[in-house]
């Protein structure tokens, strides 16, 4: 059973990768299992300078999900290149660098910094982090801004660029088409939905940042719907994510139109979830009549017209 998937810049031995922000730069999970099992790794968001991020508490548990407001804590792109990427070069593992910023210039600068290294195989443009207040949200909800930042990053990037879409929009298709027009090589979807939990004893929002991003199984139906919708409107490939816990979930994303998937929150619930999904995937594909991963991609769309 072939799990191989080829995407712009990425030759994946299987379609499973940890999602950005949920796997650090790989070291901690690398202590638990051999990262070479993974299809790829998406590392934590990089900004131009080091950021401390938000105050704590930064996470809350919700029904079948969680909220996070880490706030893009990271040591800055240069430190990531110097201190984190060398560790990952020990592995035979495509690296996708997630980049964030408050201004178009910051995105460009981070992208340029990554051109210094050949340890990164693709960029994931995080235009959707709901926890950055200085304007990050704007990029993710306004098609024109999304287009502009995509276009400018493409101009300076030496590797393919995937744009990560925010689900907090009225029209996900319009966002997807805008970034495709601007030259994006692929899409990542979805990022978290903006949510809040109020802590009853203190009568205030539990997260110090007040709002946080909702992830986990709770949001899976939204992710599936958005991927299904976008798949019909663009021709670039989609990396799907949002609540994946099992190999069955992966197949659901493939059917909806994702060509590969990322696993986020599930790593916290079960640290070995990625290799376990990879192990289980061939049997699940076979059970539902597929002969390879590529065979399943987008197959949830074939029946559209046959249904009454």
């Amino acid at each position: 059973m072939s799990l191989q998937v080829n995407l712009p810049g990425l030759s994946l031995k299987n379609p499973i990768m940890p999602a950005s922000g949920c796997f650090g730069f790989g070291r901690e999970y690398g202590d638990l299992y051999d990262l070479n099992q993974l299809g790829a790794i998406i590392i934590k968001a990089a900004t131009r300078e080091a950021r401390y991020g938000n105050q704590t508490p930064r996470v809350a548990e919700t029904p079948a999900g969680m909220l996070n407001a880490i706030g893009l804590q990271n040591p800055g792109v240069d430190a990531i290149i110097d201190q984190e990427l060398p560790y990952l070069m020990n592995y035979d593992l495509p690296v996708i660098a997630n980049i964030a910023g408050s201004t178009v210039e910051e995105y460009i600068d981070v992208t340029k910094a990554f051109t210094r290294t050949n340890a990164v195989h693709a960029l994931e443009l995080n235009i959707s982090c709901p926890n950055v207040k200085e304007g990050g949200v704007q990029f993710g909800t306004d098609p024109e801004l999304a287009k502009e930042v995509t276009y400018k990053v493409k101009e300076v990037s030496h590797v393919p660029v995937y744009v990560k879409l925010s689900p907090n929009v009225s029209n996900i298709g319009a966002m997807a088409r805008a970034v495709e027009d601007a030259g994006a090589d692929g899409l990542s979807m979805i990022n978290t939905l903006t949510g809040m939990q109020i802590h009853l004893p203190s009568k205030r929002p539990l997260l110090a940042n007040q709002t946080g991003g909702l992830s986990g199984p709770a949001i899976k139906p939204i992710a599936i719907r958005m991927i299904y919708e976008v798949k019909q409107q663009v021709s670039i490939p989609i990396i799907g994510m949002g609540g994946i816990m099992t190999a069955e979930d992966v197949l659901e994303f493939l059917l909806a139109g994702a060509s590969a998937v990322a696993v986020g929150t599930a790593n916290f619930h079960h640290p070995f979830v990625c290799p376990e999904i990879i192990d289980a995937l061939p049997d699940v594909l076979q059970k539902y009549g597929f002969t390879s991963v590529e065979d399943a991609i987008g197959k949830g769309h074939d029946h559209d017209l046959s249904r009454t």
């Binding site: 949920c22 796997f23 930064r58 996470v59 916290f268």
Partner: protein, 255 residues
């Protein structure tokens, strides 16, 4: 090395109001545990909780390779944990975090200062200290009489002073009302943040270690949920409580 184990519950007791003591059978790995480390438990029978719950390791029993945890039922996760019965298995990550570095310090007389659910990790610490020939004295604080636990166990390690907020048992007041009358060369404290702050202020001229809590995601250092700023001059300096902690030198981090 952190392991994921299915641990069988071999004993379960209510030892104080809403406070459960459980023994979990582990295997050889329990011998590697240091005082102050914790376990990260998947409390949901059916994946009902996305996040694991961090609980300190209160004791190690080398003979049957089991660990003891003591937890207070305060919310939905600890309620589910309470519903597990002897014989059932729990999905546990262990050992997590960095414990009290007792091998690296020269301590003759130790003061343990615990508050509420901060008391458990101090027990295994005290046991290890005593094994190493250190004199141990402890001050453990609780809200009220019905919440008191492990007085007897701590008394076996050395002098033990119990304090309750309402004076319904032991001394009335806070642990800080007692600790500066005592003599020791290192203190070790665990409890709510307010207590830790008061203790480390009161004992600022002493060497000591504190163990702190924060809401956690991964529990292994990957998600940055549990950071705490460091007290040095480095810009953006921080530590991860789940990995670099939960034990820190007093004044190492900003609490």
């Amino acid at each position: 090395m952190i392991n994921q184990l299915m641990m069988t519950i071999i004993d379960k007791k209510t030892i104080a109001k809403d406070t459960i003591e459980m023994r979990l059978a582990g295997g050889a790995i329990v011998r590697t545990i240091e005082p102050g480390q914790f376990v990260h438990i998947n409390v949901g029978n059916q994946g009902s909780h996305m996040l694991r719950r961090p609980i300190s390791i209160a004791d190690i029993n080398e003979s049957d390779e089991s660990i003891t945890i003591i937890f207070k039922v305060i919310g939905s996760g600890t309620e589910d944990l309470q519903s597990y019965q002897i014989g059932q298995e729990l999905d546990v990550l262990l050992p997590c975090g960095s414990g009290y570095p007792i091998k690296e310090i020269n301590v003759k007389k130790a003061l343990l200062v615990g508050g509420g659910i901060g008391v458990p990790p101090l027990y295994y610490l005290g046991k290890k200290l005593k094994e190493n020939g250190v004199e141990v004295e402890s001050v453990i604080g609780f809200q009220t009489k019905s919440s008191v636990f492990y007085e007897q166990q701590f008394a076996e390690l050395g002098a033990c002073h119990v304090v309750t907020d309402d004076g319904s048992y032991g001394w009335k007041g806070y642990v800080t009302d007692v600790i500066d009358q005592l003599d020791f060369d290192y203190y070790f404290s665990c409890g709510p943040t307010g207590m830790l702050r008061a203790v480390s202020n009161k004992l600022e001229n002493h060497k000591g270690f504190i163990s702190i809590e924060q809401r956690m995601g991964c529990g292994i250092g990957a998600c940055y949920a549990c950071v705490v700023p460091t007290n040095d001059d480095e810009k953006n300096g921080f530590k991860k409580i789940c990995k670099d902690g939960p034990v820190f030198r007093a004044n190492e981090v900003v609490i």
